[in-house]
């Protein structure tokens, strides 16, 4: 009686048996990796904006302070986007005929707001507050990255809960001295060694409390 299976069948059977064990893990691993990948988190993606506003030019080249436009950042949950009138403080005098700025002029003339695309999206059930982070010494760059180098704004951090918790569990190394908070070029490497503990103590940050659910969710 001729053999039912060719010699190669053994190999195939082995591969199938291994696959039965490995594939579910691989699938799970892939899903896990995908969850944190920029594809899911939108990290690094750039969105179309009605006006191609360049932070690189305004912050990096001209050196305008973050708070000139984002006025709410020290008081409110929202840093706030500038009203058209803020743009027009300068652009009623310079680049008054620039084609790129037509939507801004139209907004101001017709009293219709500009619809900006939201770049940093947090889930609705997270109650993030800019003002408390600024008050406690979290520099803008800790979340928003090197804004002064971004021609168009993109999301620098993954903004996942795990990423939030990394800092909430150990905020010290990411805090900046008061003077450097709004310096977007500041990185933790600029801090002197051992400064982290001093920052925590100076700012009365109770780390154990920071991972309570009610701190961010209600």
């Amino acid at each position: 009686m001729a053999q039912l299976f060719r010699p190669g069948a053994n190999t195939i059977a082995r591969i199938i048996m291994i696959a039965i064990v490995v594939l579910p893990f691989a699938g799970f691993g892939l899903a896990y990796a995908m969850r944190k990948a920029p594809y899911s988190t939108d990290q690094g993606y750039t969105l179309d904006q009605p006006v191609p506003f360049s932070h690189k030019h305004h912050v990096g080249d001209l050196g305008i302070d973050c708070r000139y436009c984002h006025t709410g950042v020290e008081d409110s949950r929202w840093a706030g986007l500038p009203p058209t009138s803020t743009c027009m403080t300068c652009h009623s005098r310079i680049w008054t005929n620039a084609k790129l700025l037509a939507p801004v002029r139209e907004s101001f003339a017709h009293n219709t707001p500009i619809h900006w695309s939201k770049v940093h999206k947090l889930a609705d059930y997270v109650y993030f507050d800019h003002s408390i982070h600024v008050a406690k010494g979290v520099p803008c760059s800790a979340c928003h990255g090197p804004v002064h180098q971004m021609a168009l704004m993109n999301q620098n951090a993954p903004l996942t809960m795990g990423w939030c918790l990394d800092c909430h569990r150990n905020p010290g190394p990411r805090l900046a001295p008061k003077a450097a908070e709004f310096n977007t070029a500041w990185t933790p490497a600029d801090a002197p060694l051992g400064a982290a503990r001093a920052y925590l103590a100076n700012r009365h940050i109770q780390v154990s409390h920071l991972t309570d659910c009610s701190v961010c969710h209600r």
Binding site: G72, T84, S85, S107, P113, Y125, A135, S214
Partner: protein, 1017 residues
Amino acid sequence: MSRFTLIEATGRPTAAAPAPAPRRALDRREALALMTAGVSLAMAGCGRPHEEIIPYVDQPEGLTPGISQRYATTLPLAGYGRGAMVVANDGRPTKIEGSPKHPFSLGSTDVFAEAEVLSLYDPARLQTAMEGSLPSSWNGLDAALLPRLAQHKRQGGQGLTLLTGRITSPTELRLIKALQAAYPAMSWRRFEPVDDDSVRAGAMRAFGRPLTVRPRLQDAQVVLALDADPLGPGPEQIANARAYAARRKPGEAGFSRWYVAEGGWTLTGANADHRLALRPDAIADVALALAAALDHGGAHPPLTPEAQRFVAAAAADLKADAGRAVVLVGRSQPPEVHALVHVLNAGLKAPVDAHAPVDPHPDGHMASLQATVADLRAGHVQTLIVFGGDPAYAAPAALQVAAAIAKAPFSVHFSEHVNDTSVACQWGAPLSHALESWGDLRAPDGTASLVQPLVRPLYDTRTRAQVLDALAAAAVRPSARDLVCQTWATQDGATGAPRVTNAQSSPAAGASRGPGAGATTATVGLTTPQSGRGASGLDEGDAGIDLNATAFDRFWTQALTDGIVANTAAAITAAPAARASVFQPRPASSSFLLALAPDPTLYDGARAENAWLQECPKPLTAEVWGATLAISPADARAHDLTDGDNVRLSRGGQSVVAPVRVAAGQARGVLSGFIGGGRRQGGPIGSEVGWDFAAVRDVANPWLSAVTLERAPAHGEAPHFQALHRLDGDARELSPEITLAALPGLARSPLEKAPEPPSMLPKAESWAPSWAMVIDAELCIGCNACIVACQSENNVPVVGPHEVARGRDMHWLRIDAYDVGQADEHRPAFQPVPCMQCEHAPCEPVCPVEASIHDHEGLNDQVYNRCIGTRFCQSNCPYKVRRFNYYGYSHDQAYGNMGEESVKAQHNPDVTVRARGVMEKCTYCVQRISQARRTAEKADREIGPHEVVTACQSSCPTQAISFGDLETAASGIADLRKEPRHYALLGDLGTRPRTTYLARVRNMNPALGTAAGEITS
């Protein structure tokens, strides 16, 4: 894909193929195709939605997106004002709080004030002028109305009738005076559904002139209420409750004693120390017996032994505390009883204030309405202008108001909603809500306060002042704001004397150059922030800062900021000697009495379209979405009735069918019910909810109507909450009561179960702050303000009557009512139950996903985005305070029109709107704690001892709820927990609740016996 469309085509009948082909089973390929399509659609839908940020073009000064603002304003109830502090988030009013300086708010609220913010966003509001049932416009109405008015002007106002509710607003009264000048023969009639006719007539009889007499309950040691309900719903509820609470604190001097004689249960009766159930028409006999006992009269009809004992004890107490004792009478009693009680109070030197009536209309409400109806029937009325209210619904049906209105050649109704009166009138036109209006109102003591808008009108509406002004048909129409400015620029509201002497501030200057400058044509929102954080660009700066400010500017800013106009309370006059007027009692009647009262959650029914109020449980019965008639057990036995059986009440050929509820403690021969139910035109929420008794109401005294009662077929019931929480066990153990006499001997609370049971759970870490709440059950009068406040603050949805009937109510806070009486004595006891925030929380170990979890401040957090809806926590909670979203109650499946866009604008942006399948519960307003913590940390300081105020706590008229940090002595919470009266609900379970209670205290008169089974030391 072609197969896909095939299925679609067979599934949906079209015009070409009217009869659908019988659906065949899917074959394998089709199933796969569908599955693939589904998966690909699901994946395509996975991406996060594109979101936009839309900043202002020109941001208003003083407004920072994300920071809420608070403005003082005034809310109307029955024509009187109650101060309110309204929280606005990014221009949306979202929460009503009390206004501390207003004498009838005192920083607290009632259910009606709390719910006003939902009424603002009610999608069923009248949004445009209507001609009959067809939409029209203000221009259309003006075109029809103004020529008629011009003709009336030529005729001196002949044939013009203005029918209003109670008006106390100085601006509205000024405009009505102007109308009376323009139309001298115009009739101004006034009808308020909750009237005070007998009160006014009684004062007239006693003093010979109209006089308002109000008790100072905070000075009253002994109070006898004869069918009166000072703690019940109404414009004075908050002030009365606060004054009541001032004398119900053991340890402080003068714990008051309350006697109440009444037919059916009221909040006052439920909180009294001694209560006598009595037919309301026998109250006159009690008053006469009391007069005899207080040496004011001679003979009186014989009383029952029980009543005799009650009167004797009360009279002795009143006499002993003369100078600090007062007798109160309710609106259902005839004027002669009121007059007699004025005499008794004068004899007792009772703490009462007398002043000229704040409502200046000289006529009685019912008489005024009867005159209107007579005029209409006689054809004397050419043009009828109904200004607010709903007399066609609220008046006794015998008057046939709607039919009379139909006789007018032209009728128009100005209203916020379409109601029976709008339907009867030819035109309807929309009024602005109070939160959209400029205006002013007076409190029952005459204190005036301004109404300022929190938001621009949502629809094309006019304010009340604008409407009255337009009726004068003058060429110039000032803005809504200027109308109010003009009132206050020309006169001091109290004296009528010119207020502003500054030459710059003549009325015209005040209007044009003053606060309205630059915004005179539009009704502007957001003006003077309470916090003084800088004006929003529409006002010209804070008082005292702007050097160019006129005297009027300073006055105006101050009045808006304070929430009251200073020194406007009516002058207290010495009441003239009350004339002794002992009267002949009316013959005793044996027929059934229908005793009606304002609904505790709907008041006169005008608020029936507010779903929060419909779903707010009636005190004691916990009925929602309607209220049944209370009948005494003896009468129920005699007529073979049980809960929910329908009865037919008949009177003069008219009848009403409504279900009864057997109520222990109800007087025999009395059926107690509420007005405000059974609205025919109540919108998607309020129509046909509950029962309307107008058909059998007596025009002579609509609060007491003699009816005949017979069984009716079928069954009806209002859904109610309480049965769902009926716990086995001894009510006195769950809701203990101590007599005042036993209290001093009480060293340590005997109510605390001494040794704590052993627990395998780790001892909770103690952190500062450690939040805790103590509720004084003695001070809780059961008014429900906290329930609606919690609903408003925490985005608690409405579920509707059907879901309530299935036990799916969503209120985070409930007020349990117990009957702690012994034998045939019935004593209700209120106990508010929010989440206990147990230190050893039974809900936590059973959650498979740690959605129920403790934080470091002792809060039992509920993490909505983690919750997967197993409901294990709900099963394991001994207090039953967890609520589950069986449906998307806050979203598309909401009841009635509650899912509509405009309603969403009310939501508090600091609290998650919970989705279907999620468990939720009270978290001590964690958003407010978080807000306070962030504010404190930004300023690098500790949270202040009274910085966090929960929504329920801020609303409570009696301040029964204390909240704070156990670790901070200044918060006083730790001290309250050491009080002898302190107890924990179900404390023997070892849950170590953070919410605890102080036991109720009863100040018994020894002459009326001692409480059986009382707790002694």
